[in-house]
Amino acid sequence: MSAEPVLLRLAGVGKDYAKVESRGGRLRLVYDLLRGHGAQHVFRALDSVSLEMRRGESLGVIGENGAGKSTLLKIIAGVVKPTRGEVERHGRVGALLELGSGFHPEYTGLANIDLAAALLGLAPSEIAAKRDEIVAFADLGDHIDDPIKNYSSGMVVRLGFAVATALAPDILITDEVLAVGDESFQKKCIAWMEEFLAGGGTLLLCSHGMYHVQKLCRHALWLKDGRVERYGAASDVTQAYLAYHEEKSASAKAPATPAAAATAGIYAITSLALDPPERIAQGAALTVRGDVYTPDGRTPVVLVGVVRADGTPVYGVATDMDGQPPVRVASDRFAFELVLPALALLPGKYFVRAHALDPEGVRLFDHVEREIIVTGHTRELGIVRLAHRWNGAEE
């Protein structure tokens, strides 16, 4: 792998954006820039980013909104000149930045294909050969003759992806492309990217969907406040990123809960943990444990449920249904532990929720949730694996 040539190298790259509020500020900025000085008031969008990509590698860039992902991709694509550091680029870079990927809104789809080809440095004869392929992949029908400004965002992405892919870049940069477009087109894109990677292509993907990063990328880079928080194997980085979010949402809720519970005198879940914590193989045992606060010393009811990422409830069970009350660990605190021995959930993203109810199991006071990703390879459909057998099947 290390024998492959380096296509992209960033060393200590940083980018400052000028901050100007007034018209006078803009004049001042022009004056500073003309004198060769930097802007005076800046916002540091990116700082000290170093990375290296060799042919055939795939890198996922993750991070929260405003972390500098788009700025980084723009620097790699050459649209933005870094304020600090060095960028070394070898080979043709195809970029799908945000939606449009450099389309002209007044041009028709076909004219934009020609424009994109010209931007990539293809001769008109070369593009003529590719045009049918692009039109077929984008699958826009007669809309290909309409101006892009009349397209929906999904249609723009289809065309953008079709163009970026047909022109065979050495490095393909995509920014959140997979978030738009309907499901069948997403699948088409992912299938194309997998093939591109298998054929030795180099992919730089920016996505909020950890699933796409894990599926398509071998390495990942987590940007936080413009700096590299973590850079390494995709699975490690995405897990660390998910754990960070876990803690963030927990710390956002946890301090509020006991305090609020104490003052409001309500039953509340004070801690909730999953074992294994974030990812579990299909069919493995999942343990849900936590603590619940009681304002009056009586034993509360705890309801634990599983919902799919879109909110569809899958299963829920409460301590009073099974006659298994939580165990008292302090005068105002009870512990609960629920084991799901062979998790029947099919692969995907779910939430485990714990609710605190009054001792009568009637009034619901509080809930805390944790995300869990069930991993595995199966072609089964739906949410859970139901116990089943095929009768009369030949051995």
Binding site: L29, L97, D114, A117, G121, P124
Partner: protein
């Protein structure tokens, strides 16, 4: 293909693409658009003719016809004016591209200026031909000098357009200031009147206007048939080149920051 050659191919392809678009969407997209490109200067010419020969009854065109006298000079001025105005705002029309794709931004300005000048030059040739056919004293052999003069004008206009378009990205007022400034400059340039009508004490001031020099040379060539080159021609070419170099320098300083401010 090495990197420089590939970039060269790409920049030519981009220029051709933008140039075609400027022509088609602005002028050829509608029949009236193309007509306007010709009708506007023609209408101005007619109005000036009416005002100066019928109302003010100006004389002193050294025996030359007012129509021929003004037409030869008015067209290059209007061409330069339109090229500057369109060139100044040209980057805004490509905001989406500038924010998302890496390419030399000056190509946008070149294409905009070139499209305007090429079309206006075609109009100029057509009007000269019509005037000649209707018996006006136009010396068509003067084009041998007029064409290089237009080229010098194009270089200077491109340089100014680079400067103004780069400033326009940051300071939106440029476009609004440009209009009245060009209007005032037009009346300060001996386009509608000969330099000889300017009072003696102001004449050297008006004569210092480079565009006035260009107008004078065009009249020499197309009306009087003077085809010999003058030392001033070389100076003018140098000035145009200097304007272009200055414009390009400013443009290149500012263009890395367009992405953040354009639109």
């Amino acid at each position: 293909m090495d990197v420089a050659a590939r970039a060269g191919v790409r920049n030519r392809a981009l220029f051709a693409n933008f140039f075609r678009r400027e022509l088609t969407t602005r002028y050829l997209g509608s029949i009236s658009g193309l007509a306007w490109a010709l009708v506007h200067p023609l209408a101005l010419l007619a109005v000036y003719h009416f005002v100066f020969t019928q109302v003010f009854r100006t004389t002193g065109f050294a025996g030359q016809s007012f129509l021929a006298f003004v037409a030869v000079a008015l067209w290059p001025w209007l061409a330069a004016q339109e090229a500057l105005q369109r060139g100044t705002v040209s980057l805004g029309g490509y905001a989406g591209l500038i924010r998302k794709v890496a390419f030399p931004h000056e190509i946008v300005v070149y294409a905009s200026v070139a499209a305007t000048l090429v079309l206006q030059f075609a109009g100029y040739l057509a009007v000269l031909a019509v005037l000649r056919l209707s018996g006006e004293p136009i010396r068509l052999e003067g084009l041998i000098v007029a064409i290089p003069l237009w080229c010098v004008l194009a270089v200077a206009v491109a340089g100014l357009a680079l400067l103004l378009s780069a400033l326009q990205v940051f300071v939106r007022d440029v476009e609004h200031v440009l209009m009245p400034v060009l209007m005032i400059l037009m009346y300060l340039t001996p386009i509608l009147y000969p330099l000889t009508l300017v009072p003696d004490n102001l004449r050297s001031l008006v004569a210092a206007n480079p565009f006035g020099w260009l107008v004078g040379r065009l009249r020499d060539a197309l009306l009087d048939g003077h085809l010999a080159l003058q030392p001033g021609d070389a100076v003018a070419a140098l000035i145009a080149a200097a304007i272009f170099a200055a414009g390009l320098t400013v443009f290149r300083r500012l263009s890395p920051h367009f992405e953040d401010f354009v639109g």
